[in-house]
């Protein structure tokens, strides 16, 4: 076809240049990647707390690092397939003390996570241990993989 030929003609010459650029970009990414940018950060939603989501056959497991948040300052809710973790991190400040470093932040947070399948809302369990929240969210019967027997 004529149109195809027209489109292909300039692209043919440029193709190698783009290929070269692409290779350079990938190479640069590799170099900067080694400077300690964790790959996970790119996929992060950028909302506190950062969350790791895994699944087993029967459940989704949600984990979040929330150091310094007491269990009674934490609120976890489910709505359909959505899970919301909200709370507040409070840091006590001694007004008479002299501060050398102040890197830890305080404040409120709220994070919503959409789970990929239907869940059994009645049986969600949560533990908070060493500043790590772990939620086990059982999958709804319909969302579980079912093995089909061949007779």
């Amino acid at each position: 076809m004529f149109t195809r030929g027209l489109r292909n003609f300039p692209a043919h010459g440029l193709h190698t240049h783009f290929g070269e650029l692409d290779r350079m970009r990938r190479h640069l990414d590799q170099i900067f990647g080694q400077l300690g940018q964790p790959a996970a950060a790119a996929r992060s939603a950028g909302v506190f707390p950062l969350v790791n989501l895994t699944e087993t056959q029967d459940a989704y497991i949600v984990r979040a690092e929330i150091p310094g948040v007491a269990a009674d300052k934490l609120d976890i809710q489910t709505m359909g397939r959505n899970l919301t973790i909200s709370g507040e991190r409070q840091i006590e400040v001694d007004p008479k003390a002299k501060y050398h470093r102040r890197e830890r932040e305080s404040g409120r947070f709220s994070r919503a996570i959409a789970l990929p399948g239907d869940i059994d809302r009645e049986k969600v369990s949560a533990t908070l241990k060493n500043g790590v929240l772990e939620l086990t969210v059982p999958k709804a019967q319909a969302a579980k993989p079912r093995k089909i027997e061949i007779k």
């Binding site: 300690g36 996929r43 506190f48 989501l53 699944e55 690092e65 150091p67 008479k96 501060y99 932040e105």
Partner: protein, 137 residues
């Protein structure tokens, strides 16, 4: 004691990773814990965020004037778990501080609560500021 920044939205803080190879003795990423350090006339307090670290995986070492904190987050995932979304990684925590004052090493108190290390370093008697009274004749 008062709460500061009340009502503020908490921002996501990326875990700071040590990029130098020299400090690494084991495989896996090494993170720098966020700390608050404050001082009163009798002690130095250090609070470090180290989520996932258990007391048995935490090591505090004070040698000469160098305080070293290392902690390990054991891998948490079960064998039959598959990753769907991974926003944070686990590994080790490592941070060193120079403590300028003389510390009463026998009275150091370390507590790990909700993933935060609370370290109280009492100053030795000699290092405490002493007020010298000026007498008028």
């Amino acid at each position: 004691m008062t709460h500061h920044d009340e009502g503020k939205e908490l921002q996501v803080g990326k875990k700071q990773e040590v990029s130098g190879q020299a400090e690494q003795t084991r495989s896996g990423p090494v993170f720098i814990p966020a700390v608050d350090i404050f001082e009163t006339h009798s002690e130095i307090n250090l609070v470090a965020d180290m989520p996932g670290v258990t007391p048995e995986n935490l090591n505090i070492d004070l040698r000469e004037n160098t305080l070293t904190i290392t902690g390990e987050m054991p891998p948490y995932e079960g064998k039959d778990e598959e990753d769907l979304l991974i926003e944070y990684e686990v590994g080790q925590y490592f941070r060193q501080f120079t403590i300028p004052e003389q510390i009463d090493q026998d009275k150091i108190d370390a507590r790990l609560e909700d993933g935060c290390l609370n370290l109280v370093l009492p100053k030795a008697e000699a290092a405490k500021p002493r007020k010298i009274e000026v007498k008028s004749p």
